[in-house]
């Protein structure tokens, strides 16, 4: 069991090792993808194994696994796999064009594997202090990815990211300290190390005042990592400036890891303080995030920024779902996490494809995607509908569940407000993406290299497998979303129920 957990966490490091040994983009990428495949397999095995057994704890509480951890492990590993396969195509294209040097490519794969491994490890620990250490370390690893292209805008984004995130996570560490203070009335055996299961089990004995403060600090602190407003200011810049597969990882995996940390704190707080205080805090931050994200989505500009704001919006929805609480709320939150992860990964990988072909990140510069590149265009269209919550994709079901939870928990105003905001988001987002997908494609010119009028449409993928690698994650992701929208497998249903019961 423990060996499986370690394998799941360490899997993505194969890509790092390969890159460290000097492999080129394709080789390092494929080895990374293979490692991610191992992680996914291990996580599915753990998921099935954990379903009806009590949680596993090892190494004095440093390793801890219950259904919730397994669920997030699976989500993050799946995203890692999609992003790893997409990395092969994107990085190979960039390297061949010459926009990234070999050194940068090596750096990318080293830090990519490190980033994934640290996130997976963070999901497997039961010690809240170690959770902070690993999340901060993953922030640092991903900062290298954000600043990789070393333009002034990416350095600026990387600086903002690293300083705001580090500050936020340090606030979360202060929250963890206060959580430990609230537990100081308990008499501890010297080797017990205040792990999450211990605190959760002894929740009634915690001091309420400092627990309140601890929860607030944790939401503000880890909320910075998650992208809840008003701590989200780093998010659009970082997600827009990173290379697209890295953006997919940031948006779909790192945000979820932060949300996992918040859920751990939520469980303890709800056990001691009941529903009122956590609900107020989470609903406030959640709705604030959705409102701000929707307002910023109305601008046309960089389409990766649009996707980033959509991530802020969805994290806000998940926070709102957690705030609503109850069985429906928690179920909806977890389902939304999984669906959003896959959908956002698809979107960002598509954007990588588009960026490589059109050589621009402005939405105004991209037209006629459906006619020029059918796979990417279709993926973008379907992906944007998916992420906006239209049936038959999975997000529709999860958002419906959340709205139902809202009606059950707190009357009619808040869910209706949520629906209204989602509608505005739909209009804003779809306006940009349909503009990108329709229209006529620019003519593919080989002679002109200037960007007057429209950028030349290049064929960036040399080698058959690279092109396949570009398209596969998109197709797989969309299919998965479709399946999740139409039918939730009984296994998944049981897993989610089990995880929700943990909270």
């Amino acid at each position: 069991m423990i060996a499986l957990m370690i394998a799941a966490a360490v899997g993505p490091l194969t890509g790092s090792v390969a890159a460290g040994c000097g492999a080129r983009a394709r080789q390092a990428g494929w080895s990374g993808a293979a490692g991610a495949m191992i992680s996914v397999a291990c996580s599915i095995w753990l998921l099935a194994a954990e379903l009806h057994r009590p949680p596993v704890s090892g190494w004095g509480g440093y390793l801890y696994l219950d259904s919730l951890s397994c669920f997030f492990l699976f989500t993050v590993a799946a995203v890692t796999l999609l992003a790893a396969v997409g990395s092969v195509a994107y990085l190979a294209a960039e390297e061949d064009i010459g926009r990234l040097s070999a050194f940068q490519v090596r750096l990318y794969f080293i830090f990519f594997g490190l980033f994934a491994a640290l996130m997976l490890a963070a999901l497997e620990t039961g010690n809240l202090g170690l959770l902070f250490v690993l999340i901060e370390a993953s922030t640092l690893a991903s900062a290298a990815l954000v600043g990789l292209e070393a333009r002034s805008s990416s350095l600026e984004a990387a600086w903002k990211y690293v300083i705001i995130s580090s500050f936020g996570v340090t606030i979360a560490l202060a929250g963890t300290l206060f959580l430990f203070y609230s537990a100081s009335g308990l008499h501890l055996a010297p080797d017990l190390r205040l792990t999450w299961p211990y605190l959760f089990g002894h929740a009634p004995a915690l001091a309420p005042e400092s627990l309140r403060l601890a929860f607030l600090l944790a939401v503000v602190g880890y909320g910075t990592k998650v992208g809840l407003a008003p701590m989200h200011t780093w998010l659009p810049d970082a997600h827009a400036e990173a290379p697209s597969p890295a953006s997919a990882m940031l948006s779909a995996a790192l945000l979820n890891t932060g949300m996992y940390a918040i859920m751990r704190f939520l469980a303890i707080t709800r056990a001691r303080l009941g529903d009122g205080f956590p609900r107020a805090v989470l609903l406030t931050f959640g709705f604030l995030s959705i409102v701000i994200a929707v307002l910023f989505m109305i601008r046309r500009g960089n389409f990766k920024r649009l996707f980033a704001y959509s991530s802020v919006e969805h994290m806000g929805i998940i926070a709102v779902a957690l705030g609503f609480g109850g069985v429906l709320g928690l179920y909806g939150a977890l389902l939304q996490t999984l669906n959003h992860a896959i959908a956002k990964a698809v979107l960002f990988l598509t954007s990588g494809d588009v960026a490589v072909r059109y050589q621009t990140r402005e939405a105004a510069g991209v037209t006629g995607l459906l006619t020029a590149v059918p796979v990417a265009g279709g993926a973008l269209l379907l992906g944007s509908f998916a992420v906006l919550g239209s049936p038959p994709f999975g997000l529709f079901l999860s958002e419906l569940t959340i709205v139902r939870a809202g009606f059950a928990a707190s009357g009619a105003t808040l869910p209706l407000l949520l629906l209204a905001l989602l509608a505005i988001a739909f209009i804003a987002f779809a306006r940009t993406t349909t503009g990108m997908v329709t229209g006529s494609a620019p003519v593919a010119t080989t002679a002109t290299a200037t960007v007057a009028g429209g950028p030349p449409l290049s064929a960036p993928y040399r080698g058959r497998w690279t092109g396949v690698a570009a398209a596969t994650p998109l197709v797989v992701g969309l299919v998965a979303l479709l399946i999740l929208g139409l039918w939730i497998p009984a296994v998944l249903d049981a897993v989610i129920r089990h995880s929700a019961a943990v909270l």
């Binding site: 440093y62 010690n127 202090g129 170690l130 902070f132 250490v133 690993l134 901060e136 370390a137 640092l140 900062a143 290298a144 600043g147 070393a150 333009r151 002034s152 805008s153 350095l155 600026e156 984004a157 990387a158 600086w159 903002k160 690293v162 300083i163 580090s166 500050f167 340090t170 606030i171 560490l173 202060a174 300290l177 430990f180 203070y181 609230s182 537990a183 100081s184 009335g185 501890l188 010297p190 190390r193 205040l194 001091a207 005042e209 400092s210 403060l213 659009p236 810049d237 827009a240 400036e241 910023f296 601008r299 500009g301 920024r305």
Partner: protein
Amino acid sequence: MQSLSATSAAGVLLDLSGVLILLLAFACLGSKLFNRYVAYYGAQSVVLAFAAGVAAQAFHSAELWILAVATLAIKGIGIPLSARRLLVQRLDLKRDAALSTGLSTSLIAGGALTAFAYLVTRPQLLPHGVVAAAVVPLSTAVILLGGLAMVVRRHTVAQLIGWLIVENGVFLGAITLVATFPFIVEAGIFLDIVAGVLIMLVFVSGLTRQLASASASELKELQG
């Protein structure tokens, strides 16, 4: 958890160290010259190492001794020296008058944040039995002051040192939980800080190469 009474020698020394760390945070907030700013941070880390040593002595904890020495070496001496070398020699920067608000305004805001921190972490808030309960409001105040320093300063390295002041505050608070913060976590936090500083310094070097300055007020390209 053991507790130190306020009148024992160790308790008095911890209280004094805490107040001195708070005052040095104010000094950092109110200094205009870069050399002084970095020097005050170094002094603060030295006092922090001293406080860790006092706690290690009181609780006979070898782990805390190691952490105290590491704090002294890395945060008290290493980081200030390398920051000064980076700033003065490479960036040729001695004075950083770039503040978003005036000096007096930031000091008053710092005073208000200190009062707020004391209010929020009233001693009644903490259950009995916590070591040197007076240190907790002080560490919270230092965290808030470090955050203010990050927000007010306009130079990237100054923001970085602001973050390090926040970490100092957290470490001060963590000393009081010596029984339950295992060594691996503390060491992990330490490594995080070191790695963070290294990465940030790399970015600052990149920024200076790109923008010919590392002032964060130049970072206005990404908006909206």
